[in-house]
Amino acid sequence: MIPAEFDYAAPDTLDEAIRLLGEGGEDAKLLAGGHSLLPLMKLRLATPSLLIDLRRVPGLGGVERQNGSWRIGAMTPHATLERSPDLGILARAAGTIADPQVRNRGTIGGSLAHGDPASDLPAVLMIAQGSVTLRGPGGERTVDSSEFFQDYLETAVAADEVLTEVQLPALDGFGFGYQKFNRRSEDWAMVAVCAVVKNTDGGAQDVRVGLTNMGSTPLRAGAVEEALRGQPLNAESIAQAAEQAAEGTDPPADLNASAEYKQHLARVLCKRALQEAAGL
């Protein structure tokens, strides 16, 4: 299978990329690593008329820490995240994406902008309460993760905007857990649960739980977070809270998982992710 025909541009500057994007309209697409877009194009499920390759645009790479937050260039491949253990749960989740070859090409910006609720990084961005920077013809704006993912394959990125950078609070002092369930390790998550917790002597000061592939967007397991806030984190409290992991979700069924099974998995994985995060 091969893509339908398209025109191609590899601009040298971000402004040029944004200009081309504006001119190309709905039929123009940005190309980063291409590992979300090209597979769709090969199956002709996507047929853009213009691809704007960001590979020559300077300043879209790099991982650096500033003021307690990580700034990650949109073109940073998953493999780089995976090999940056200081990124904590983001490194863990990135290391479970597909396979090594895909991680060498796929990028954080591409993955987030694609907005697939089955991919690993969106829920992590949500529980880290990170944000992304979008740049368009009118300038730059920052969108909080809670507002970024809008629907299945729909994000806050406008047709004429480029996702340039991801900001991820450093989560110092948090424990984390990542539990991904799939049939084969190279598969998308059937369900995944990410969790970060900050504990004090009195109990959980901050608990955040994210759900992958449990709806049309990544989700926060609000009921679980609520149930554990201020509570001591132990096997019983976690098990009890995790029972609410699927509350309010309406996951799509597929060949290998009914909605009911996915909700069950969410509860199981939530318990395991929280135990891992709590160091139990």
């Binding site: 091969i2 369930f181 049939r183 059937m190 290998n256 099974y261």
Partner: protein, 811 residues
């Protein structure tokens, strides 16, 4: 590369062989290569990227073909508009089924069992009138550019009038809708293999159990999809195709194109795996040849994976109702199996035969006096099924091995004990079993004993108990199998026997060159098994040379004698034996020449340490090179032809019956239902080992093929006949990350059928393993109340089973 170069089939490019001096070639070699784990002669070209698979071969002036395929599972074609596609730049032609009226007939089905009616609707390379499954080809687009023909194919506008769809074989048997309206039924045929009296056997049983055994549909999924390059020039056709059966393809191309057979040459270049899915005469092969003749241009078609998943023939897909009776002491008295076999939309080359292959060994390695298999074949609006690795025998083994474990549980017996109780005793071979076939040799306790040397069952049970108390559900499953392979002999498989319209023999030709180097031609057609190495070992020993100077040519109908190719684990036991016999003929002639040269009696000439020497005078002798020198100088005995070359056709007296004992250990996560294979031990007996390295490799791959089916793989169609598992995203072949390393061991019980003492091993792992995995999962789940479960043992299915066993509550 030129066509001539490509025509060399699979010529070895081993640099170290090429670098050998004539002196080295002539050096005598001791006859001890058989049995050695020699690394493969094939590998240098494969590991350096220098092999030539079908898509690596190019001819000048080639036009690419892309097929327009049906998105409908069942529909009447009301119109096909090719105008837009034809008028695109670089497009030379678009053809539909109506354009191929000059074809000699529909695609072949080669099973005509005596006295059995098999409904066989016409099946054309391009659909005529109706489409009957998703992917059924409707038109072909031919043009200059590989990418442009795909674009043009999208511009062919086909109007379909949808017809009612049936995908469930049990519903299909109940009546309309019919896949082929003109037949008025979806039933293809009925076939039975009675052995003894199952009703009487069940009546004398103390316990009778019944199970519904579903052996779901799977894909062959070789990593190389199919492909064809057809070159029709000046009245002759050369066709390269990624096939297991070039000789069958040639025969049917000649028939369907109305060509004289000598004008058709079919070459299987390097073939990237087959697993049965390339044991076929496919419409695309006929179509490419027909287009090449029509347009007088070479035609190339390379299948995409998406096409392969939709249209390459698939396997298994049986629903069976089994009934087993046993006495309290565990003696099995009867086994009755009723199979509904889902054939999909058409009969392919051997489709209706496949379930019958399992019937012969339905009693497994047990002395069950009454065994009967009743088969009903059914059409549905799905891709056709045919042989996939094991072809009927994995299904049979699964049924007998899983049901036997079910019986053991019913009787409160240990799975080991019930097996030992029923094994055919080692001293009763050759053993005629209830189904009428004669098992050539076996010692089932020996392989089981060896298996239990690797696994301490008592210790395992203690460990299992401990783990359960920690919430880990571990289980062990056994499979003690035998299978029937070495497909031949003609008297059983052929027209007068089961009804396959082909002989089951194999051919060989051994040519010793002037220098003593050897080229051999085999009619079997390897595609990864290691023919070039194992066959060289066999021939080398019989001629006193090193295997490195024995070149094995296969897969080309333009060289060597007629052949019957590779499937059914037949290459070694039939093709290898043919070569052994042929090399022996050459050795006999060599002895006569040596006797003549050295003035000795031929009976006194023996081959020792690579020399044909006179008994008692070891210094007096000739190497093969010296014999060849004499033979080509016509220094041969009076009345003997010059030269040193022989041809053999070998049709064995019987099948061969490999056997073994496998054990699988799994952990099941009770919370998620996910199963992980933590240990797998396989003890196989495939007779005398020719090359242990190759045997282990075949066993490893065979096991994973079956683990794949048991835990991961499943071809699934929805109710509308849409293929849900159309790519490698959804059709889950296991990766290295899902699997453990395997422990393999071997016993050697020679087959009396052939002089090598060898049996087949290409399918054994696949035949054995699905039952071992399934029995292991059931063993793990028994404390949770799950006593029986059908494949595929996907996490959700296991989780649901646990939930149902606990009164419907989620685990």
């Amino acid at each position: 590369m030129s066509a001539e170069e490509a025509g060399g089939g699979v010529a070895t490019e081993v640099s170290e062989v090429a670098a050998q001096t004539a002196e080295q070639r002539q050096a005598p070699a001791p006859s001890n290569h058989v049995g050695q784990a020699i690394r493969r002669k094939e590998d240098p070209r494969l590991i350096t990227g220098r092999a030539r698979y079908i898509d690596d071969i190019s001819l000048p002036g080639t036009l690419w073909a892309a097929l327009v395929r049906s998105p409908e599972a069942h529909a009447r074609i009301t119109s096909i508009d090719t105008q837009a596609a034809s008028s695109r730049p670089g497009i030379h032609a678009v053809f539909t089924g109506e354009d191929m009226a000059d074809l000699g007939g529909p695609l072949p089905m080669a099973w005509v069992p005596p006295g059995v009616e098999v409904k066989n609707p016409e099946h054309w390379p391009l659909a005529k009138g109706t489409v009957n499954h998703v992917g059924d080809p409707v038109a072909v687009v031919l043009g200059e550019d590989r990418y442009a023909v795909i674009d043009a194919a999208e511009d062919v506008v086909v109007q379909y009038e949808p017809l009612p769809v049936v995908t469930d074989p049990e519903k299909a048997l109940e009546g309309a809708p019919f896949v082929h309206e003109q037949l008025g039924t979806n039933k293809v045929h009925e076939w039975s293999l009675p052995g003894g009296d199952v009703e009487a056997g069940l009546a004398e049983a103390d316990v009778v159990i019944e199970r519904r055994v579903v052996n779901h549909r799977t894909a062959g999924a070789p990593i190389e999809p199919r492909g064809v390059l057809a070159d029709y020039r000046a009245g002759s056709l050369t066709l390269w195709t990624s096939t297991q059966v070039p000789h069958f393809v040639r025969l049917f191309l000649a028939i369907l194109l109305g060509m004289s057979e000598e004008r058709v040459r079919v070459i299987a270049p390097e073939v990237g795996g087959g697993f049965g899915s390339k044991l076929q005469v496919y419409g695309e092969e006929v179509l490419a040849a027909w287009c090449s003749r029509k347009l007088e241009r070479p035609i190339k078609w390379i299948e995409t994976r998406t096409e392969n998943m939709a249209v390459a023939h698939q396997g298994r897909d049986q629903i069976s109702h089994v009934k087993m009776g046993a006495r309290r002491d565990g003696t099995v008295t009867a086994f009755h199996v009723k199979i509904i076999a889902d054939f999909g939309a058409y009969n392919m080359l051997l489709t209706p035969l496949i379930p019958s292959l399992g019937a012969f060994v339905m009693g497994g390695c047990y002395a069950i006096p009454n065994v009967q298999t009743d088969i009903v074949g059914v059409f549905t609006n799905k891709a056709p099924t045919d042989a996939i690795r094991g072809a009927g025998r994995p299904e049979a083994t699964h049924m007998v091995e899983v049901t036997l474990d079910q019986m053991a549980a019913e009787l409160g017996m240990d799975p080991v004990e019930i097996r030992r109780k029923n094994f055919i005793p080692a001293d009763s071979f050759p053993a005629t079993v209830a189904t009428g076939v004669i098992y050539d040799s076996g010692d089932y306790n020996k392989t089981l004993d060896r298996l239990l040397e690797h696994i301490d069952l008592a210790a395992f049970r203690r460990e299992q108990e401990e783990l359960r108390s920690k919430g880990v559900f571990r289980g062990i499953g056994l499979s003690t199998y035998t299978e029937i392979c070495g497909l031949a002999p003609s008297r059983v498989t052929g027209p007068g026997g089961v009804g396959v319209q082909a002989g089951g023999w194999e051919s060989a030709m051994v040519r010793v060159h002037n220098t003593g180097a050897v080229t051999v031609y085999t009619g079997s057609s390897g595609h990864g098994q290691g023919h070039e190495t194992a066959f060289a070992q066999i021939v080398a020993d019989r001629l006193g040379v090193d295997p490195s100077v024995v070149e094995v040519i296969h897969g080309d109908t333009g060289t060597g004698p007629e052949g019957r190719n590779t499937y059914g684990s037949r290459s070694l036991a039939v093709g290898g034996e043919a070569l052994a016999r042929c090399a022996t003929k050459v050795a006999e002639k060599s002895k006569a020449i040596v006797a003549d040269q050295l003035e000795a009696s031929a009976e006194d000439v023996e081959l020792t340490d690579g020399k044909f020497s006179v008994k008692g005078s070891p210094d007096k002798g000739m190497t093969l090179a010296e014999v060849a020198g004499a033979a080509y100088l016509n220094l041969v005995p009076e009345g003997m032809e010059p030269g040193l070359e022989e041809t053999t056709f070998y049709d064995p007296e019987n099948f061969v019956f490999p056997f073994g004992a496998h054990a699988c250990i799994v952990d099941v996560d009770r919370d998620t239902g996910k199963t992980k294979v933590v240990r797998y031990v396989a003890v196989d007996d495939c007779g005398r080992a020719i090359n242990p390295l190759l045997i282990d490799g075949q066993v490893h791959g065979g096991i994973v093929h079956a683990i794949g089916q048991a835990l991961y793989e499943r071809v699934h169609y929805d109710e509308d006949g849409q293929l849900v598992t159309g790519t490698f995203v959804d059709y889950a072949l296991p990766t290295a990350a899902e699997l453990p390393s395997f422990e393999t061991d071997r016993t050697e019980t020679p087959s009396p059928v052939n002089s090598l003492g060898a049996k087949g091993v290409g399918e054994a792992g696949t035949i054995a393993a699905s039952a071992a995995v399934t029995n292991a999962v059931i063993d793990a789940l028994r404390p949770l109340g799950v006593n029986y479960i059908n494949m595929p043992l996907t996490p959700m299915r296991v989780w649901e089973a646990i939930g149902q066993a606990n009164g419907g509550a989620s685990a």
